[in-house]
Assembly symmetry: C2
Homo-oligomer: 191 residues x 2
């Protein structure tokens, strides 16, 4: 598989910057209208750009989803850093997990990005790595406090969080379920 070779965001031509923004804006409009197909043809039409342009910026669905979720993911990374700095690591962990679940519930694309083990865009890859180190620090402290079993790592935390989100979304009253399942997860992490 060839690495998708995107131009660094800093050296994009001005029309390219504008087109990309219009595509993302159109995609957000569609998502807000309850259409989560994110079809590139319709997106190009809706954004007023050529089909080829849409494909140049977002060669596949994953690229588009990562572009849409970038801000939300960055916010989650920030949350993870604060959690790692919490004097009470167990409290920091629980707060972070709750924030992550709320974020995914409010933003489906964030859930999709967190679910995929291998992001494709360089920006997302970077954020993902930063998330990993923040979660790692948090986990080290939480383990020392006895809040997390020693056989669980940072990536396990990401995966379990996505799992709880899936569980909460797979039935009625997802908000109430989210709280219940969060308690299950927190208790389960301690082993």
């Amino acid at each position: 598989m060839a690495q998708s070779r995107t131009v660094p965001a800093s050296r994009r031509r001005s029309d390219a910057v504008r087109n990309r923004a219009q595509l993302l804006e159109a995609a957000r409009r569609q998502l807000a209208d309850g259409d989560d197909t994110l079809a590139l043809n319709a997106l190009a039409r809706c954004a007023g750009v050529g089909i080829g342009t849409a494909y140049r910026h977002f060669p596949n669905r994953a690229t588009l989803v990562e572009g849409l979720a970038a801000d939300a993911l960055a916010a989650f990374v920030t949350d993870a850093r604060s959690a790692a700095d919490d004097p009470d690591p167990a409290r920091g962990l629980a707060t972070l997990l709750r924030a992550g679940l709320a974020g995914m519930a409010g933003d489906h694309v964030l859930a999709e990005v967190l679910r995929s083990p291998h992001p494709v865009c360089v920006e997302t890859i970077g954020l993902s790595r930063e998330l990993g180190t923040a979660l790692g620090e948090l986990l080290d402290r939480a383990r020392a406090a006895g809040a997390v079993s020693p056989d669980l790592g940072a990536d396990d935390l990401r995966r379990l969080l996505v799992g709880v989100h899936t569980a909460a979304s797979a039935g009625p009253h997802p908000d109430a379920a989210r709280e219940r399942y969060l308690r299950v997860l927190v208790a389960g992490l301690a082993g």
Copy 2:
């Protein structure tokens, strides 16, 4: 939403029975070949039946998936019944969860069916209900034994199981992860 009005399996014309079987067989071939799109047009072609026939038997993706997963779901219901009869409910619960995870890992369509809160085919609806009662009995006994928190019901168990499956599938070494996350779930259920 109108109930999808399928003819009861007992009174199907013989050609209908055969066509349905051929469609399911073709779908399994496609899945075995790593093609999980389950496109109805291609399916009809591959099964040697008309497009309209494919749509008559499987008016949407969910119907097809449920048709494909019926046997696996029935097997899981049987497992749930045995688990409910286990003299040690905690052991029965853990065994059942492990079996469910193994089943979903080996059969993607089973995972898809268990993830959806509202099956569409009458057969699946029936199996789903039976699963609910079996899980309910198991949970009652497990709660009495202190293995499950009182605020979790049968449908929570289904959803959490699907969640763990998602978590295990969302990264490397799904088999090893499955065991780790199963321990997290079992510990978490006790609260």
